[in-house]
Symmetry: C2
């Protein structure tokens, strides 16, 4: 085991260790989805993951290290990560639309991760220790979306005058706003999807 520090976590573990880490990250994400970050007790996450509190601290060092790791876990499991897979028979536009619409879904496996994302953003307003991971993950997400947009421009499913970076930033902001409203109960899920499609359609070639 050679622990290397990235974004407050240790990486490069062998199989067993990786499995334990994922079990803890999944339990932390689930717990945050249920009761938020501010009510999060490290002991409870350890119990939910079936590990000791000291093993949890060994892997994640601190409560905020655990939250950041749960956030990374949630973002790794977000539907739009599918855009990173190069082989897709759909056009660039269709892949982009499909991936973004899939982010707005009442299925618990999607909703929970959206709740974790929103909760980390909300806490980052008050707790600066969440900002660097948030910025890092947002940057990756933007690169993924920009890549999908470039692919759409190349296959002529997306207009050639669209700026991939700028448009990716607009789409991320829109998804975040729609998610906030949907999860807070001030916007119906079906309506949220309609508004997303309305934002996407002008990109179409």
């Amino acid at each position: 085991v050679s622990p290397k520090t990235t974004t407050g976590e240790r990486t490069q573990f062998r199989g067993d260790s990786l499995e334990t880490r994922n079990k803890i990250r999944a339990a932390a994400a689930r717990t945050i989805a249920r009761q938020g970050i501010r009510g999060l007790r490290v002991e409870e996450v350890a119990a939910a993951a079936g590990v000791s509190t000291s093993l949890l601290y060994y892997h994640f060092r601190s409560r905020s290290g655990l939250v950041n790791a749960a956030f990374e876990y949630a973002s790794e499991h977000a539907p739009s990560t599918a855009l990173r897979i190069a082989s897709d028979s759909r056009s660039g536009y269709e892949a982009l639309e499909g991936a973004l619409v899939a982010e707005l879904d009442d299925d618990p496996s999607v909703r929970d991760y959206a709740v974790v994302w929103g909760e980390v953003c909300a806490c980052a307003v008050y707790e600066p220790e969440f900002r660097s991971v948030l910025t890092h993950i947002t940057r990756n997400w933007r690169a993924t979306l920009a890549g999908a947009i470039e692919r759409g421009i190349a296959d002529r499913s997306i207009r050639s005058d669209v700026d991939p970076q700028e448009t990716a930033d607009v789409l991320i902001s829109m998804i975040e706003g729609l998610s906030v409203r949907w999860l807070a109960g001030s916007l119906d899920l079906g309506r949220a999807r309609e508004l997303l499609l309305l934002t996407l359609q002008p990109l179409r070639a």
Copy 2:
């Protein structure tokens, strides 16, 4: 004094009482902007407003009544309420753009209210008692924006094929997403404004 219940609060007070209520609402909004809802102690708000805890409870009944009242206070003071004033020499488009850009501002008087708005949305995910006021205020905000868009269509500063309700909903979602990202520190304020303008400009006639 004839107390009437609207959205968990009592209204129709004479001058003195109204002043006290506003002092408490302002103190609650400021406290939420500093430390969030989940860390909010009613005693602390009472002390900041210079009133007794029992007077605070007399006016707002409960902690969630107080939070809802602070949220209403914040939304009454949001820059885009300026759109409700009919007399404006600018075109409908210019008034709309000006009001929305003003929502993204580091001035504490604007930022604090944006933080309160975001915090209520974030808490409403877990605490359903915030949802009805949130839905009610969002509906009013949408009506204000839709009215401004209609005015812009009438004075030909906004394209006639724009749907006022739908566009208002898109703009609210965009502002919420940009605010979340700006306040969480994952998006620069200047960039947030650029992205907002990018969303607004296609509305121009």
